[in-house]
């Protein structure tokens, strides 16, 4: 068990990275990670594979997110103006401004597209792995990826052009 726990801890940074990009709100994201860890601990004894914990943990994370968090964040989002919240975080460096931009583009995606895009592009999971994690056919993963990438592309192009002109 202690070995398993330390294995679990090794994965916290990537779980946190994923949750924070998915939810944007840092406190919510960290709570999501905590919930995921709680459930993972609960199921440690049911885990038979000695191999990589990551896919298993991300599957748990997805399910916690879907079952509990999605409903909560949807209602929270309905009542809060996230645009204001973003502005309140004053970007101190140019590169952070750049992050705000791509994260905002990510925000325009429906959650299922955002999940797929982050799991593939940031976490580096194979399409088949993502399909198993989300329990959807691989074709669904691919179409979410296409729609997500194209939508983000349009959004970022629309925003980048005036910014580039200003920089020049």
């Amino acid at each position: 068990m202690p070995a398993a726990v330390s294995k679990l801890e090794e994965n916290i940074p990537s779980l946190r990275r994923y949750a924070r990009s998915l939810l944007r709100n840092v406190a919510d994201a960290d709570d999501l990670v905590q919930d995921c860890l709680v459930r993972a601990l609960d199921r440690m004894d049911t885990l038979r594979t000695e191999g990589d914990l990551r896919p298993w943990l991300f599957t748990i994370m997805h399910n916690v997110f879907v079952n509990r968090w999605r409903r909560m964040t949807l209602s929270a989002r309905f009542f809060s103006n996230r645009g204001d919240a973003d502005v309140a975080v004053a970007p101190s460096q140019e590169d952070k401004l750049q992050f705000q931009d791509v994260l905002r583009a990510l925000d325009t995606l429906p959650e299922e597209q955002r999940e797929v895009l982050l799991l593939v592009a940031v976490e580096g999971f194979q399409y088949g792995e993502v399909a198993r994690m989300l329990d959807v056919p691989i074709g669904t993963v691919m179409s979410r990826l296409s729609r997500g990438r194209d939508k983000m592309g349009h959004f970022m192009q629309g925003r980048e052009r005036p910014m580039l002109r200003r920089v020049k």
């Binding site: 726990v5 679990l8 801890e9 916290i12 940074p13 990537s14 946190r16 990275r17 994923y18 924070r20 990009s21 840092v26 960290d30 990670v33 905590q34 860890l37 709680v38 459930r39 601990l41 609960d42 199921r43 004894d45 049911t46 885990l47 748990i60 399910n63 079952n67 590169d95 952070k96 750049q98 992050f99 931009d101 791509v102 994260l103 583009a105 990510l106 895009l117 982050l118 593939v120 592009a121 940031v122 580096g124 194979q126 399409y127 329990d135 691919m142 990826l145 296409s146 990438r149 194209d150 983000m152 592309g153 970022m156 192009q157």
Partner: protein, 259 residues
């Protein structure tokens, strides 16, 4: 792909961007993209997004790292989360045992809730349907995929009967059960010796969303109930309790690892 004129699939484009193509495929893809600048532009956009996302996610992950962000904290939280419902459920269970003993109290105006109601519903399902030799289930073992679909639809979450062949039970099938707390589902198993056992599953309605496993006993049934992540489980048969404990543990393990 030997020539760059062959059509490439959307899948190939993504696989190229995400680095899942082997060197030869990469090379021919690059040829194709050079010949099809519109596709090339789209793919280049995807690559930019990939890089930007990776950088942004890494930056977000590092910002404001909470001090006590560790497994130990999660373990603490787990035990504190359980404590209250456990005690609550224990007192409800006591009420149930008294209620079942004195008969009419259970049918009084105050209905049971939480894990105690799962216990009575599971016992009732076992009593009524497991004893039925003619038509105990609506979906037989050969209709398992339909059963899973239907049950998942009615209960609003993916639910499949665990394989208990290692414990000596085979699945006879299942049915939907009407309860005071909405639709529940009964999976019926039978041992080689003909002992029938009910696995009753129902979404919890806000009470006892995570309740520890505990034994339940009525005049003619015995078993175990627990809940996990808002789903209640009751494993009940007409056998003595002791024999079911191991099976119940196995069911709990299977049912919580599949989500």
């Amino acid at each position: 792909m030997t020539t760059s004129d062959l059509p490439v699939s959307e899948y190939d484009l993504h696989a190229y961007v995400d680095g899942f193509l082997d060197p030869a495929q990469r090379l021919s893809m690059e040829g194709y993209l050079a010949d099809h600048p519109q596709v090339g532009e789209r793919v280049a956009g995807w690559q930019t997004i990939n890089e930007a996302l990776r950088d942004a996610a890494a930056w977000k992950a590092e910002a404001q790292v909470p001090a006590a962000f560790e497994v130990a904290r999660a373990a603490n939280r787990r035990s504190s989360q359980r404590w209250v419902p456990q005690r609550m459920a224990a007192s409800i269970l006591v009420a149930l045992v008294i209620g079942a003993g004195s008969g009419w109290i259970a049918h009084g105006p105050r209905s049971v809730n939480g894990i105690a109601s799962v216990a009575s519903e599971a016992s009732m399902a076992q009593r009524v349907f497991a004893a039925d030799t003619l038509h105990p289930v609506e979906f037989g073992p050969d209709q398992q995929s339909q059963l899973v679909k239907w049950v998942s639809l009615r209960l609003g979450r993916p639910i499949a009967p665990p394989d208990l062949s290692r414990s000596g039970y085979r699945l006879l099938g299942g049915r939907i059960i009407a309860t005071e707390h909405g639709a529940g589902c009964m999976f019926l198993y039978e041992s080689g010796a003909g002992v029938r056992m009910t696995l009753f599953v129902r979404p919890m309605q806000g009470i006892d969303m995570n309740a520890r496993m505990r034994p339940v006993q009525t005049a003619d049934t015995s078993g175990f109930v627990w809940s996990h992540d808002g789903v209640g489980f009751g494993l009940v048969s007409n056998n003595p309790l002791g024999m079911l404990h191991e099976v119940a543990n196995r069911v709990r393990g299977d049912m919580s690892s599949d989500t």
